[in-house]
Amino acid sequence: MKIGVLVNEGPYTHEASDSAYSFTKAAIEKGHEIYRVFFYHDGVNNSTRLTEPPRDDRHIVNRWSELAKAHNLDLVVCIAAAQRRGIMDENEAKRQGKDAHNLADGFRISGLGQLVEAGIQCDRLVTFGD
């Protein structure tokens, strides 16, 4: 089955990103295709490489990056939601005249059209987060 995943909450405060990660991993292991994981609302906060949890806690951001690398996943962060919350890739930081960028490896920033397109192309779009 072709599956799209929508993550609407940030890391740690809510379990949504953990659940989305477990779901995505399990779906891949079962042989399903993950067409895209889209991060919206506070979900964009799952993509900052400046995240540094205590050593005995799981690293939610790195976990996504590693999963993306291992399975060539398309992790897309909504540009409008990201800009509101201070998530920038190098190009966007340059364009906005910012002195830093923080998008983690394996994520890309794009528009909301990518979410709608996933809804059209996938057999199922599965939402995580309230």
Binding site: A81, G111, G113, Q114, I120, Q121
Partner: protein, 133 residues
């Protein structure tokens, strides 16, 4: 106010799905209503069969005479009136949600279709894609 997708490719090979955006939250207090509306507007570019449902506190999103001056936030409620221009005309509002909040259709700033709980559930069951905010 609404930024459009930078790399929007709206040619989806003629696939038309029924998309329903479910609005459950009051317009202010959280960002879900505003960011949800941004998705709805983008979806209009993809020529899909789009509808919106308003349930629970989501019915407040359509309340007339919203005044956000004291909140220091933009009043985005006029955007609901513009939806018609995007061919998004199916706005379903749950009857029980209106009644529980002392609202009637006359309190709303756009024309809507009022459905009871069971009718709303049936309408949701018909959809291909449900995205809720």
């Amino acid at each position: 106010m609404f930024t459009s997708s930078e790399d929007m490719d709206t040619d989806e090979g003629g696939i038309v799905k029924q998309f329903m955006f479910v609005n459950r939250k009051a317009p202010y207090g959280t960002i879900y209503a505003l960011e949800g509306l941004e998705v709805v507007l983008i979806s209009a570019a993809f020529e899909q069969d789009v509808s919106m449902a308003f349930i629970d506190d989501g019915v407040f999103e359509l309340k007339k005479a919203q005044d956000t001056k004291e909140l220091g936030q933009k009043n985005f409620s006029p955007t609901y009136r513009a939806l018609e221009g995007y061919d998004i005309e199916k706005l379903y509002v749950e009857k029980e949600s209106l009644e529980a909040r002392g609202l009637t259709e006359d309190d709303l700033l756009v024309d809507v279709i009022v459905l009871d709980h069971a009718e709303m559930a049936a309408k949701m069951a018909e959809q291909d894609v449900l995205i809720s905010f």
